[in-house]
């Protein structure tokens, strides 16, 4: 099947270097310390952050740094066919772990010893790239909660189909079976914190695809910065400053 037309357009009308539409909103869960909705195309996730607060389970308390925990869950209606999976299946455990490790790397945990930070991400609509969307949403929620961070982690994926590197795959492109590289970076420090790939790619092409994904992450970072700035301006306005 042709995924890239001779004119260089993808099936949904994007260009190979073009991202799906991004949308973000801060402060959607009133009761949480920080929260955000993040949409990438048809993928929509909500993240909520509680903390830093007292450690619930004393045996996990660390005297030199904060404990970061994360739970990923999918709504029953998030997938095309309705699913009823028990909580904590292997996929969500793995994604929880990935998000936790990625966020832990950017939170200044040593500033908040003997405390706990909970990150909860809930998928409302699952297309492709829930992993990236969750990390972006979690970043925004952590920033909204005012938790000290080294930088804002952003994530994006890229793939390779019909000998063209593609940014931010959608469902049809992902099911086509090409490689899918998910990258998470700290944009200001220019460091990669997350890198995952399935399928195989020649080394020189991998370099291109990863470069493209990093470009995508930077674009997401710019967008997140805009949203945060706008949110801060609104807060400022409401305080009458």
């Amino acid at each position: 099947m042709e995924y890239v037309s001779p004119e260089g357009l993808l099936l949904d009308g994007r260009r190979p270097m073009e991202m799906r539409q991004l949308r973000a909103e801060i402060g959607t869960v009133a009761k949480a310390d920080g929260s955000a909705v993040f949409e990438m195309g048809n993928t929509k996730v909500i993240a909520a952050v509680y903390g830093p607060r007292e450690v619930q389970n004393r045996s996990q308390q660390m005297s030199d740094q904060a404990l970061v925990r994360c739970e990923y869950s999918m709504a029953n209606f998030s997938t095309g066919d309705r699913m009823r999976k028990p909580k904590g299946d292997r996929r969500s455990t793995e994604i929880s772990l990935v998000i936790r490790q990625t966020m832990e790397a950017c939170i200044l945990t040593h500033l908040m010893p003997r405390s706990q930070i909970d990150i909860f991400v809930q998928v409302l609509q699952a297309d492709v790239g829930t992993r990236s969307a969750c990390i972006n949403a979690a970043s925004l929620a952590l920033a909204d909660a005012g938790i000290p961070m080294r930088d804002i982690v952003t994530s994006c994926s890229a793939g390779y189909l019909n000998s063209t590197p593609l940014l931010d795959l959608n469902y049809v492109e992902d099911s086509a079976g090409g490689a899918d590289v998910t990258v998470g970076i700290l944009p200001k420090l220019d460091k990669v914190t997350l890198l995952q790939m399935d399928a195989k790619l020649p080394l020189d092409i991998f370099e291109n695809v990863m470069g493209l994904a990093i470009e995508g992450c930077k674009a997401v970072a710019n967008y997140i910065r805009e949203i945060l700035l706008e949110n801060t301006k609104q807060l400022e306005y409401r305080r009458g400053l």
Binding site: A75, N76, F77, R82, V121, Q125
Partner: protein, 287 residues
């Protein structure tokens, strides 16, 4: 869950006794309700309802299935509720399961009527395509995103809104079959059937704090409750279901009093909800 000092508890209880609650409402006033429909494009119908800081999503998905042998002339409707850990850290892991089950059962009792289907908000007979062979199975999923008390009323309102937003594809029977064979059906992707949602009740929960009872309690107020009665009432003023929660016993005369108050409150709630749903549908069609 809610950590309140003795002073705060006293303030809440005193406010309720004097008909001026801590957020400025009277005892029988709801918080402002906000409805958004069509929030989940993958579902047949969906709605998001916000009641103050309480935020819930309901979605309706329909699948073709086989009616049960005992009731060949009725479709099946099931309600599941899930409490997302985003709403409160205590719902993490399996922590929300108990509350989810309590809410699912209460909603089923209040909205779906008895086993025979009598008193159901949606007539299960309208879901049958071929009697005894093909019917629609409706799966109604509720998701609690943010919780600030009164989840049951918010979920019921969301389900009502989601059902008004639902379009079930029209099904034509392609070939008549005899015997036990499943008939072939064509599912239309152009024509959709809408439900008549005027008969779906709303749930009004009256929470008893001290000697008085209040509607639409916040989670702080719920932490002070002695007992609560959830009453589902439809447009005609009929009581469709009733659940009592909480430990303390209630005097039977108080229950009757509560029911008549709930009936009065439900009229205002239904009017408000219907106009909100209509407004949401209109803005959904525009976009």
């Amino acid at each position: 869950m809610v950590g309140l000092s003795a002073g705060e508890k006293h303030f809440i209880q005193g406010g309720i006794a004097q008909d001026l609650r801590s957020d400025g409402r009277k005892r029988l006033t709801y918080r402002s309700i906000y409805v958004e429909t069509g929030v989940i494009p993958q579902a047949h119908g969906s709605a998001r309802v916000r009641l103050g800081a309480t935020d819930v999503i309901a979605s309706v998905k329909a699948e073709l299935g086989r009616p049960s042998g005992l009731q060949p002339d009725k479709g099946k409707i099931a309600i599941f509720v899930d409490c997302s850990p985003t709403a409160a850290p205590m719902f993490e892991g399996r922590g929300g399961e108990e509350l989810s089950t309590e809410l699912s059962v209460a909603l089923q009792r209040c909205l779906l009527g008895g086993k025979s289907g009598a008193g159901a908000g949606i007539d299960p007979a309208s879901l049958v395509v071929v009697e005894g062979k093909v019917c629609w199975d409706l799966y109604i999923d509720g998701l609690v995103i943010s919780s600030d008390g009164n989840l049951l009323d918010a979920l019921a309102a969301a389900i009502k809104a989601a059902l008004s937003n639902t379009g079930i594809p029209k099904v034509d029977v392609a070939a008549e079959t005899t015997g036990d064979e499943q008939p072939e059906v064509n599912i239309s992707d152009e024509e959709f059937l809408q439900f008549d949602t005027s008969g779906i009740p709303v749930i009004v929960t009256l929470t008893k704090v001290g000697r008085h009872y209040i509607v639409d309690a916040t989670s702080e107020e719920e932490s002070q409750m002695s007992s609560a009665v959830s009453i589902s009432i439809n447009r005609k003023g009929h009581i469709c279901g009733l659940t009592k929660r909480g430990g303390a016993g209630l005097d039977p005369s108080i229950i009757l009093d509560m029911i008549s108050v709930a009936k009065h409150v439900s009229e205002q709630l239904l009017n408000k909800l219907d106009s909100e749903i209509a407004a949401a549908e209109a803005s959904d069609e525009e976009s």
